[in-house]
């Protein structure tokens, strides 16, 4: 019925197609630890060539176990590998949509729409990058490490989690040449005061030209304070409930400070990556 969807559209004069809806085959879909799973999809080179760190795909989760997720679900690109033709997502099972994702097995197809949104940027003079991530925020920040390596920048990855068992991707960061600092609730090292000490240490050592973070309110506030104190810029990836994912519906707005005004920007379109200093903690 909807078979025409994947047909190639005629190219328009002035506008080129930027995002695509397509069904991709599942290569694997395995648990990473108790709460998270990694989904690997088989993706065409043309699609992977368009992907950038910080962007997301909008996933059409299938019917599963009597549940019928209706809207698409946004998921950050966790990794994109043109060589092996793979597109990776790291996700946490929270509700009907992600439960349906968890039920996908190899060979099944998942309808994806993307890549969407504004990626992270790394300014030319940002030589030392600091990435601060907790939980599923890693999914969004991980591909930044690849990009940093490609551009020859130094990266410190501060990974925080409830318990050492739930730390993810630390090996991945280390393999890409990043310095990895782990902080956990269980070891009592993840509190804001300690985090501030750790970051101030990096600043003092000249290892913090820019911050990158994601999701957590507490971290945003802390990084804004440190950023303002030392004039260090940063970027943050934010979340919001979405419907269309491409800028049409204005569901996904968040308020930002811009000059002396508050503006509403769409997370799917002007984001999900925003200037860290403009973001407003919630």
């Amino acid at each position: 019925m909807m078979g025409v969807r994947e047909k190639i559209m005629p190219v328009q004069q002035e506008i080129s197609f930027k995002a695509f809806e397509m069904g991709l085959a599942v290569k694997s879909n395995d648990p990473v630890n108790g709460e998270y799973r990694k989904l690997v999809l088989d993706a065409p080179a043309g699609l992977l060539a368009r992907c950038r760190a910080g962007q997301f795909f909008h996933l059409l989760c299938p019917q599963s176990g009597g549940e019928t997720p209706y809207l698409r679900r946004p998921m950050s690109i966790y990794g994109f590998y043109p060589q092996s033709g793979e597109l990776h997502f790291l996700y946490k099972v929270t509700g009907a949509g992600t439960r349906a994702l968890a039920a996908l097995s190899s060979g099944e197809r998942l309808n994806v729409l993307g890549p969407l949104g504004v990626p992270f940027t790394i300014a030319d003079h940002w030589q030392d990058l600091v990435l601060v991530a907790r939980g599923v925020g890693l999914a969004t920040l991980a591909p930044l490490a690849l990009e940093a390596q490609r551009l020859g920048r130094r990266l410190t990855a501060i990974c925080s989690a409830r318990h050492p068992d739930y730390l993810m991707s630390t090996g991945y960061f280390a393999d890409l040449g990043a310095d990895v600092i782990t902080l956990t609730d269980a070891e009592g090292t993840s509190d804001p005061d300690n985090l501030e000490r750790v970051i101030e240490g990096l600043v003092a050592a000249g290892r913090a030209d820019a911050f990158y973070t994601c999701g957590s309110n507490r971290m945003l506030r802390l990084l804004q304070t440190i950023g303002a104190r030392h004039g260090i810029p940063g970027q943050i990836a934010l979340e919001q409930q979405m419907a269309c994912g491409i800028g049409m519906c204005h569901c996904c707005v968040r308020p930002f400070n811009r000059g002396d005004k508050q503006v509403h920007l769409r997370v799917c379109r002007e984001g999900p990556v925003f200037d860290m200093m403009e973001a407003i903690a919630w």
Binding site: M1, Q12, A243, I246, H264
Partner: protein, 314 residues
Amino acid sequence: MVDLSVDIAGLKLKNPIMPASGTFSEELAEIFDLERLGAHVTKTITRGWRDGNPTPRVCEVGGSMLNSIGIPSKGVGAFLEKVVPFYRRYETPLVVSISGNTADEFATLCSEVSVEGVAAIEVNISCPNIEEDGKAFAIRPSSTYDVMRRLRAATDLPLWAKLTPNTGETPEVARAAEEGGADALVVANTILSMAIDIRSRRPKLGNLMGGLSGPSLKPIALRMAYQCARATGIPVIGCGGISTVEDVIEYLIAGATAVQVGTATFIHPTAMIAIIDGLEAWLADEGLAGVRDLIGTVIDGEQDEAVVFMEAAP
């Protein structure tokens, strides 16, 4: 070759498929060629700048969705400067959706958007009439008639009145809109609904209530489209829960001359293209010469509308 074209009160559309207001924008041009659509319909604008509602503005309810976007608007100036020129590159007619909380403001905006490049004006009279009791104009026949008269006087462009399902008087409102000067009816907007998160005990929308759209709305909006086609002599543009070719055919048989596709585009951005292709194929299979052979062909035994309404109530 089947003929997909239809005529909405003198405006010729190459096919009967167009987007619903608020579920379409320039951004979709990044996904397919917008020239393929029967018309372009913009998100409702107000005269002045508006912020829209608090977030979350959207939630899912059993295979459909609620939204309480409100009408964030950059105002008419920005609209005329940025949006209208964008659509000039297309031959597809541009339909501009407008709204206002008073008849005055509404009429002023109506004449302000009557500019070159605009083919028709869709008036979203499902918005609150703050001069009366804050209920939407289209809830009652009298307020519908009054605002339509004002709007009719404000423009020479075709006027499409967009009705609301939040009324018990659909045929009467439709006739009032026709008498007030509407050239066509868009049937319908979303129906007021609610959902609560049982864990947090908070409404799932920041605004508490919002409009239901998607498949759940279809039987309701289809009934309204049928009622409006019978109650008036002007074209009806069906809207509500359309996601497949079969849905479109059902609306056309019920009496709609064209349809708008809303929420389905959020699920499949190319849904409208699939529907246009599918409609052409279906008509060819059925051996029909064109869309016009389908419109209003419901076999309804010419039952009296009032009786039907009475008896249907349980």
